[in-house]
């Protein structure tokens, strides 16, 4: 994975929802939102120049370093990509959410969950 640098956006703080605890095997809902303009490369600026493509192209969630969820994101995706998905976890551990931007910049956030 590339070196992590903050995505250069004033509002690039990810927001995630992870339950603090759950029962083993219980269906839990995970949510993740990243503020990002998702410039498709097709938009024109005020001076008639094309705004270069700059999107989040990959979103990955790992649980104790094992792949839990992954998405390849294309230029037609709306700004501020939001993911909501479910999982069943059998033991306590750490969820890590990673967003990868064109050019390789990434931002990530971690949250531990207690499974009882």
């Amino acid at each position: 994975m590339p070196d992590e640098t903050l995505i250069p956006s004033a509002l690039a703080q990810p927001r995630i929802k992870v339950p603090e605890q759950a029962r083993a095997g219980e269906l839990i809902v995970l949510k993740a939102l990243l503020r990002h303009r998702m410039d498709s490369g097709h938009r024109i600026d005020d001076h008639g120049q094309a705004i270069p493509r700059l999107i989040i192209n990959r979103f990955i969630v790992t649980f104790d370093n094992a792949l839990l969820f992954s998405a390849i994101i294309e230029p037609s995706t709306a700004e501020n990509p939001f993911f909501e998905f479910t999982a069943r976890l059998m033991h306590s551990g750490t969820l890590r959410f990673v967003w990868i931007e064109d050019g390789g910049a990434t931002t990530s956030i971690e949250r531990t969950i207690v499974i009882t």
Partner: protein
Amino acid sequence: MPVKRLSRRRFAGLMVTAPALVRAPRTAFGAAPLRIVVIGGGAAGATTARLLAREGGDRLDITLVERDTRYTSCFQSNLYLGGYRPLSALTHDYQRLARTDGIDIVHAMATRIDRDRQAVHLADGRQLSYDRLVVSPGIDLVYDSVPGYSESAAELAPHAWQDAVQLQRLKSRLDALQNGENVVIVAPPNPYRCPPGPYERASMIARQFRRRGLTDSRVTIIDAKRSFSKQALFEAGWRRHYPDVIEWFPSDVHGGILSIDAAAGTVETDLDTFRGALLNVIPAQRAGTIAQQAALTDASGFCPIDPATMRSSVDSAISVLGDACVAGDMPKSAFAAHSQARVAAAALLRELLGRPIAPPRFGNICWSLIDDDDAIKVGGSYAPSGDRIESIGSFISQPSDASGTRASNYTESIAWYESITSDMFGNGA
């Protein structure tokens, strides 16, 4: 929006049957003047009172019941927040209106409508009996629609969605913000007064941030809805004028507002907890209290009406106008209220004085300012169809508008303001 057309025959049917539903007035024509009481001196009520006074002459005796001696318009109040208009430009007294021949103004709170005896009870103990009543009390805020919000919390987290005190409170709090301090707006569920209002307000706050050099301050909107009026135009405008300053969270993303804490400045949602130095909480809305007490409302909290006459569906001696009524496809706006007033006044003049009437038509335009010389608008025409007011045509600003079009939209909105307030309060000195 789907476009529906009414056949001529359908219209004729409405025009013939509507008056037949109405009880005959107690006083015969040619005898003592008929007593018309109007509750609420806003865009609907003041306009109706003046139209009836002008057309009714000696045959109508009109009393306008209005709690306040001065009116501060909610419409264009965002321009005050944005520094475009002083509060004085939005404030009107009722003196010119009081000098209109044929209108008595009673500055008192209407506390109860006795529908059986056709009388309005006032807070000072007086009673006004009526032959026909016009109810235009505006909205009531449903504070507890936002968990943790209340009338007292509104002193810390102003709604500024009605009354001048709230508006000034929000303005002074905005003016006191330091660089890096953020604003969180909680936007209401439909239906509510001024659908584009929360988003124009966010624009005006961002504009003030820029003007005051608050480059690190942000506006976050936590919405009870999944989409909003003129959304694509606002979002394009925010990207252009205020990049990364305004952040909007629809309900399906934040997952629902769990609670707000006005003192701590937090809004807790299912997704995350949002913090602001200033919270602007705009709760859900319903018809003004007196309309609820008089049982003129339905399950929606607003008052169903006959769309051809604006007469209450539950009491044919009462018309309900403006934000308090169920107006079908029409938004709750001053323009809409003013348009409904014209239809209601014409229907009353036909019923009471036998005046000719044109087929009822309604109109609306909502202008919103995003930045200097960049105002957008949405509007439509409407007509009765069955038991609803339905859209028969609409228009909306385009993303490709020339900048001159956006600038002239603003000029047009200011001209409209002068026009509607003249209709409400009179032109004379």
